[in-house]
Symmetry: C2
Subunit: 321 residues, 2 copies
Amino acid sequence: MSAPEQRYIGLDVGRTIRGALVSAEGSILRQHRVVSEVSDAQVFVDQLADVIKTLNNDQESRRAAAAGIGWAGLVNQSAQSIEANPNLVDVSSYDLHAQLERDTSLPVVIDNDANVAAYGEWRAGAARGARDVFFVTLGTGIGAGLILGGVLQRGTRGFAGEFGHFKVDQDGLECGCGGTGCLETVASGPNIVRRVREKLFSDPSFSVSKLARDMEGTLTAERVMQAATENDDLATLVLRDTGIVLGTAIASIINLLNVEVVVLGGGVMAAGDLIMRPIREGVKRATVSQAFKCVRIVPAELAQEAGMIGAAFLARDLFGG
Amino acid sequence: MSAPEQRYIGLDVGRTIRGALVSAEGSILRQHRVVSEVSDAQVFVDQLADVIKTLNNDQESRRAAAAGIGWAGLVNQSAQSIEANPNLVDVSSYDLHAQLERDTSLPVVIDNDANVAAYGEWRAGAARGARDVFFVTLGTGIGAGLILGGVLQRGTRGFAGEFGHFKVDQDGLECGCGGTGCLETVASGPNIVRRVREKLFSDPSFSVSKLARDMEGTLTAERVMQAATENDDLATLVLRDTGIVLGTAIASIINLLNVEVVVLGGGVMAAGDLIMRPIREGVKRATVSQAFKCVRIVPAELAQEAGMIGAAFLARDLFGG
């Protein structure tokens, strides 16, 4: 563990680059964010270095000791290389890790965004002190991070965590991954919206829903979460079905891994108990009794900050003095 | 690692108690087996101690240094206590671990049977040298063992590995665990037999199957495997469907854990390529491409000996000099 006065920089890189200067105890001391460049890879790489330098632009004694980056895509963690980033400009021709270390004069570690968020929740959030943790992030995509035996498990090439492509329906919809019936085709934000739309089209009784007036292209997952918290029947019903499917899938993982805590984060969790309750019900239905008795299902504590704090802590625990 | 001349005893405890004296390199030097007592717990516990003592009844210099036990049931590995053993006589009122150490004068370690078989295949079999391994045993039940990050993962209470209760069908059959649509309700040995029977009843074209004459109660999973290797259409078809379901479930785990090798053992693997090929096809269909590219799907190498060797090696690695 590092000295308490040490500081670390954590970046959460997606369509927005969110950066923070974080104390060794996990307090956010300063934040900086910019919208990611989407067309020019060099500009994007420069943005990343600039966010780090901006956060680190302080008197010598207060500078960060290292930087961690959570990346929205597949990261080969042992090679520190980006293998895929479907939603960002393609940086595969760059040695991002070497370039960032050179540009910022800091040691840098890169990992998958779900892994760093899991790390944040484990080190400083809802899973503090646990040895075996299943972290799931529910948003535009569905990702996961695993701490087993007190170690963040990245798998053989660093690709662990693709829980969005867990098969929940042998005859389900086609998924962007090339498979069918993946969890994301039911429970991702965009698919929650799709299912709301389908119910609005197919069942006239839902025309009283607050969501009916959002039908013309503006309906978003955030809007569905909000409507649910305002007691909208349609939103509540779709979230309930979503939660049961999610809980059933999570139960299969609990049965296999016997984790002590499942932490749920991401935008879909804005629905609070309206998604947590059916998730817990789905878990309970499908878990073998011994495994169920010793698992807690809890919401994430660090919200949007899990990625930044987790990335900073990854740097702290790897490079800290 | 222990000195090469050290020896260890491994027991695989199910309806039969299978014991072996194993060299530190994994050679089986001597074997002993007895049918498990099913009604008297004290007799059963004495049997276990007797198998160990019989294997260890040699001149002083050749005696074993420790014993490992793979147990067909739930084991709280950290407490070294038996939590459930559905197919054996109930020993929950015994402190089995303390009693065996006292009776045999050896250090003893107890673990779940799938865990020790996974350990055997990892240390001395098909997964030698790998860091991230998913071991699945396909038989009367379906179990699993996980090595992740080079460590056998037992979960928070030692219950990890309940892959048989992985949900494959939201509307599936009821399972003994209380859930529905568990993998075991499709792909366990007894359920393979059930599905053969159902096809024989429902489709007259299968009346030419070798299996038709076994309908009156004598049909076994072994018989189905054998018929498949003799080109029986019905057996081949049911095994093919079984393999696809298994492969699809295994794919969900590969997506989540990014293991480098999946090892398949147990009685159902007697069907060889007739089960391996559809399993590989199911895996390929449902795995995200990056994870698929770096995984091998292989049969177990140690066959019936995996449990004994794994249990002996668990003792070696825990107690070895």
